[in-house]
Every structure is written in C-alpha cells, then in structure tokens.
C-alpha cells in the first residue's frame, strides 16, 4: 500500500524531481571545484593529515544529518539534536564520575538519546504539536538538564583506549568516518530502497493522503524522532571521546550546522523531497569550504558570511524555480490540489 502512495505522489512531481537532481549535480560540481581549487591554491590542504582532520570535523554533523534528513523529508524538524548531544555528554560524565564502567555508560547514553527523541515524538505525534515549537522547547530543556546534571565541570579523565579510538585513522580515513559511512549506507537504503522510505516521502509530501493510503504516519514519525535522538547520542560519544572532554555545553550550536547541511543538500524544508547522497555531499562541501578558508587565513566573519550565502542560495534556488513556474503557468499539481 505504501508503494501505491509513493507512486501516486511522485508522478506529478516530475519537474520538481528533475530540479532536485540538478541541484545535487550542482552541489557535486561545487564540491569538486572547491576541492580542486583548495588543493591547488591552499597550502596544507591536500595531504593525508588535513584530509583526516577535515573528515573528523564533520563526523558529528554528518551523523546527526543522517536522521535529520529523514525527519525533514517527513516534513518535521528536530532542533533539539545538539542539546540531546549535550545531555548525553553530561550523563556520560556524571556516570563516569560515579564509577560506572564506560562500556555500560555508552548504551545508557544511547538510551538517553532515544528517550529524548521519544519525548519529542510523543509531543509531536500524540499531542499533535508542531515539531518546530516542540523541539525549540526541548532544545532549551535538554541543555538545561545537562547543566543540572554536570554543572560547569568538565570530565576529562576518560579511558585512553576509547579517546584513541575516536581519533584513530586508517591512512587519511578516520575510524569515525567509517562509522558515518556504514550508517549513511543504512539510512540511504532505508530512505531510497524500502517501503518505509517510500512511506516517509509520501507522508512528507502529503500527510493526509499518505494516511488515507494506509501509511502509519504517527508511528513512523515517532520512530524517526527516536532515531534522531539516538543518533545525536551516538554523535555525543564520538564528540566526547574525540575531544576527551564531557561537558554540559558540548556541541552548542551544532543543530544549525546540521539543518544547514540538510537544506544545502537539497532536502525541501516543506518535506517530501530530498536525497541522502545530496546531504552527505553538502556536509562535505561545508566542511571543505570551512577548512580551506581557515587554512587560507580568511577571517572568521567572512567564513560565516560564505556559509550563510551558500545556505540562502540553497533555500532560494529550488524555490526560485517554483516561483517562476507558478507565475508563468498554473501547474497541474496546483490545479489538482484545489477541489
């Protein structure tokens, strides 16, 4: 049944689909161009250790962007991911100080993240509240809780075996990147090659239609939020071990970087459109631009300016097409939506 729903929703969206494919092509071209430019023109960019720095720096953003892609495709958003990361770090530090084994703490952190996601999920699906408002609320709530648990102390005496693992590399490829790649393959398969993925697209494009077509809208959304929380907690483990420091303020502001990458990757903020490869390329593009500009001694303000510009362009470009089409010819899909 979800198969039919997805097919029905996708057919009239073909022009939009082509634009999206074009957009991802554009991101790929940009990524290649910037990488080539940086390799040729920026000292210290094209070598193994810089590549591994660059990849490591994008790990947490990439991890959270995987589930964020699914959430945004389902026409929801989770702004509490970085706060969930912070809360999970705080729980880790607190339990570590209490003398628990790190191997036990790690699954507890993942459970904490999943629980955070479940709270978001319940509020959104059972109470029918908008996810933007709910997760702005839990954004403050989870971060506040992190400070309640750990205060302003830093827990730094973490086991070297694990902190070493977080910065371990195979040639230029960090172990953490392998983790990202495996999970990305999993998420891409779910989104693009399973009935569940087609249901997510369907409910993101038109929740009501998907519901009537038999998609279990609420259940899927609930579990997407749980996955988002768990992924944030996983990112918190990488973050804590990578910096060898568990603090309540870990990852402040990362949610914006995650949403930025997802939007730049061509996922529609209104749901129903987007691909995982696009998002991963966007994560890399933002990472490469940032790394190359810092290496080229470009001031931080210019850096933020360039990132902002890329983002505005990413939101504007697909919509420009839509605006133009709407002005010139009333599209069939629009005709359909009016009874």
């Amino acid at each position: 049944m979800p198969r039919e729903a997805a097919g029905g929703a996708a057919a009239p969206r073909d022009p939009a689909g082509r634009l999206i494919r074009r957009w991802e092509g554009l991101i790929l071209v940009l990524l290649v161009t910037v990488t080539l430019w940086a390799s040729a023109g920026v000292d210290g960019f094209a070598n193994a250790s810089n590549v591994s720095f660059l990849l490591l720096d994008t790990t947490e953003i990439a991890l959270m962007a995987l589930t964020m892609t699914l959430v945004v495709v389902a026409a929801e958003i989770d702004l509490s991911v970085a706060s969930t990361l912070g809360l999970s770090c705080a729980v880790l530090g607190w339990l570590w100080n209490a003398g628990l084994a790190i191997e036990l703490i790690m699954p507890i952190c993942l459970l904490t993240g999943a629980l955070c996601g479940a709270v978001n999920g319940v509020l959104v699906t059972r109470l029918g509240l908008p996810s933007l408002a709910v997760t702005i609320g839990t954004f403050a709530l989870y971060r506040g809780l992190a400070y309640v648990i750990l205060g302003d102390q830093a827990v730094a005496d973490l086991p070297p075996a694990y902190t070493g693992l977080a910065t371990q590399t195979f040639g230029p490829v960090p172990l953490a990147t392998v983790l990202v790649a495996v999970l990305a393959a999993l998420a891409a398969t779910v989104l693009h090659a399973t009935g569940l993925g087609r249901s997510i697209f369907a409910l993101g494009a038109n929740e009501e239609a998907a519901h009537f077509a038999g998609v279990r809208v609420k259940r899927i959304k609930f579990w997407l939020f749980v996955a988002s929380g768990a992924c944030a907690a996983l990112a918190s483990l990488v973050y804590t071990f990578r910096y060898a420091s568990a603090r309540a303020d870990n990852g402040v502001g990362l949610e914006l970087a995650v949403v930025a990458a997802v939007l730049l990757g061509g996922v529609s903020i209104f749901g129903g459109r987007g691909t995982l490869p696009g998002v991963l390329m966007a994560v890399l593009l933002l990472g490469v631009v940032r790394n190359a500009l810092i290496l080229a001694d470009v001031a931080n303000e210019v850096l933020n300016f360039v990132t902002g510009l890329l983002l505005v362009a990413s939101v504007l470009a697909p919509n420009l097409g839509a605006i133009r089409r709407r002005r010139h010819l009333p599209t069939p899909s629009e005709g359909k939506s009016v009874p």
Partner: protein, 359 residues
C-alpha cells in the same frame, strides 16, 4: 511461562550483556591508576640561552574568541612583540567561545606549520589531543590567560598570581583610606575558587602590623549577579554606616557596587577597589566613585606570551624551571615551577591612565 515473548527474551539478554560488560568494563578507578604517571616533556633538546631569536618566525595567537576587546588588545601586544624580533604574528580563532571550534583552528595551524601557537583555552582538556599532535609536529605551544592541561603546552604565561592579586588589593585600599577603618569584601559566590584564594591572601596581608587599624567586618557574596551584588552593597552600608572601604575581587561585583555608591550619599567617602575592566568602570573613575582599581594589562600579557613563544621556537628556552629569557620592554623573565611564567604585579587604573586603555 507460556507468555514469554521474544521481546522479553531480548530484554533479558540485553540486561545480561550489560551486566557482563559492567563487570569487565573500564571504570574511572582503572584509568586514574593507569594515568597517574606524569607525561614526560616533549622536548628533550637542551636549552641554549645564547641562541639568537630566529628571523621570520611564524606565530599564531588563538584566543578564546575573536572580536573580544580583551583578546584583541592581548593579541595586538603579541603581534607587536613578534614584529620587534623580526617575526610574523597573526590572530586567528572562532567567533564563539567553544572548545571544539578551537580544535579545528589548532589543526589548521598545524597544517600551516606555524613555529608556535599561543592559546587561551576554552576547555583546558578538549584542546589537548590536538595540541599534542601540533607538538609532535614540532610546533611550540604557549598558553596565556587560560591554561590548558599541562601536557598540552610548553609554557603558561600567567597574568597574575593569586598572592599578588590578593595582597595588592588590600594595599591599594589601605592607601586610599589611610590604613584606618572598617572594610568589607564583596565577592562572587561563597565557593568561587579564585575569589576564595584571593580572600585568604587578603586576610593574611591584613594580619601584618601596618594594617592594625583596619578591620575586616564582613565578606558578602553577590554571586556574580548584578542585582544581588547591588543589594549586598546596599546591605553592607546599612549594617556598617561607618564603613571606610570595600574590596570587590570580581568584575561583576565591583561594577554593581560602583553603581550603588555613585548614586548614594556615600559616593567618594566609602572607597571602592578590586578587579575590573577600564571600559566598565571608566565612568565611575571619572565621577570620583572609584579612585583606583586593578587588573593585569592584557597588552603586556600578549606581548610576554609572544616573546616566550619566540624564545621557545628559537631554542633559547625549553620550558624547564629556572630558564631565563628577555621579553623586550618588559625585561627578563624566569620560568617558574610547572612551566609557568608570571606576568608580574597587576596594573592599577586611575583617572590619570584609564584613558590609555580600551577594553
């Protein structure tokens, strides 16, 4: 028994697995046992006190955040120091004070093969792995303003010792009130580590014979909140109408106290001193509420850190206790225990010099 579902079995298995890992796992006590041995210093080369400062040294200043007036002045001081020795200094850094963003800057500075990194750490521990990599690549690391964990750096340029700060604040107030009368302290929180150390040294200083006519009547706590500090000042003057002076060793406290005093009949009669920044207290110094307060000079701090980094990168010093180096206009410095260099006595700001400072 028949109701046992796969779910229950899964939960049971997970529980058992968790217990098993808990028994065999790594706990905090394991790690503290392993890491109790101090890390050996990275540099094994001997210092050559007569080595000339190398020309064309590239040294980067990595403050907690850029566009912060305090660090802008400190880093300008450092860049000026580098210019004096024929090197090249630059300031790079994140626009928000977070540990993780400093790490990516450390990594890029390592790529750029800077000769030294001068850093004020947002998180003393989070920057250490990256700094260790930088040091392994032959880059010297000097921390200033906020130290990193010792294994992350060669030297720490300390802006002021707790003892100097505590004693000089008492000396400053004593001169203003003529070594006579009741005084009070307006601190931050009752368990603020820095403030409590300073207050101990203040009490020790006050026990000297020259202060026999001065009496510390109360230590009040404004919790580093503006409103609470304001009310506490008010309360102090109600309880002790003949109070001669207040020391507030916190920038929030001194500003709130100044705000209260300047609008009260006690203005100019009750002396106020402590730690503050010129921009925050300029108005109160000009209108006579405050005669003088103190803080270290951030420009000198950066300048000294710049010279220390240049001396390290040139092999004049290695960071061992007792080594000496010259720091331009500031004169000669000796490295103290634990790789620390003390900037010296804090600067006193009065109406005569306050306009020379903008931070």
């Amino acid at each position: 028994m028949t109701t046992r579902t796969p779910w229950r079995r899964l939960a049971l298995l997970t529980g058992l697995a968790l217990m098993a890992t808990a028994c065999a796992g790594t706990t905090r006590s394991d790690v503290t046992q392993q890491t109790s041995a101090p890390a050996a210093p990275a540099s094994s080369a001997a210092a050559d006190p007569n080595a000339p400062i190398k020309q064309g040294l590239k040294i980067a200043f990595l403050p907690k955040q850029v566009n912060n007036p305090y660090f802008t002045i400190a880093d300008e001081g450092g860049i000026a120091a580098l210019k004096e020795v024929g090197g090249e200094g630059k300031e790079v850094g994140p626009s928000e004070a977070s540990a993780s963003s400093q790490v990516s800057y450390i990594n890029t500075l390592t790529q750029q093969k800077q000769d030294a990194i001068v850093i004020s750490a947002n998180d003393p521990n989070a920057v250490v792995p990256a700094l260790k990599q930088a040091r392994a690549a032959g880059i010297k690391v000097v921390s200033y303003d906020s130290d990193t964990a010792p294994e992350g750096r060669d030297l720490f340029v300390n802006q002021a010792s707790a003892e100097d700060l505590g004693r000089t604040e008492v000396q400053l107030l004593a001169e203003q009130i003529g070594f006579k009368g009741k005084i009070a302290i307006l601190s931050a929180t009752p368990n603020a580590t820095n403030q409590n150390t300073w207050i101990e040294f203040m009490k020790d200083e006050l026990s000297k014979p020259e202060y026999k006519d001065m009496e510390l009547v109360k230590v009040a706590y404004g919790n580093d909140e503006d409103q609470k500090s304001f009310t506490e000042t008010q309360g102090l003057l109600r309880s002790y109408p003949d109070l001669a002076g207040i020391i507030s060793p916190t920038t929030v406290g001194i500003a709130a106290a100044a705000r209260y005093l300047s609008s009260s009949p006690h203005k100019g009669k009750v002396k106020l001193t402590g730690l503050g920044t010129p921009n925050q207290l300029r108005k109160f110094v000009k209108d006579g509420t405050i005669e003088g307060f103190e803080l270290w000079n951030p420009g000198d701090l950066g300048y000294l850190a710049g010279y220390a980094a240049a001396a390290l990168a040139s092999g004049q010093i290695t960071g061992a206790e007792g080594e000496k180096f010259k720091a331009g206009k500031l004169g000669e410095y000796t490295i103290g225990p634990k790789g620390e260099i003390l900037l010296g006595k804090p600067t006193v700001f009065t109406k005569d010099n306050i306009d020379d400072f903008d931070f």
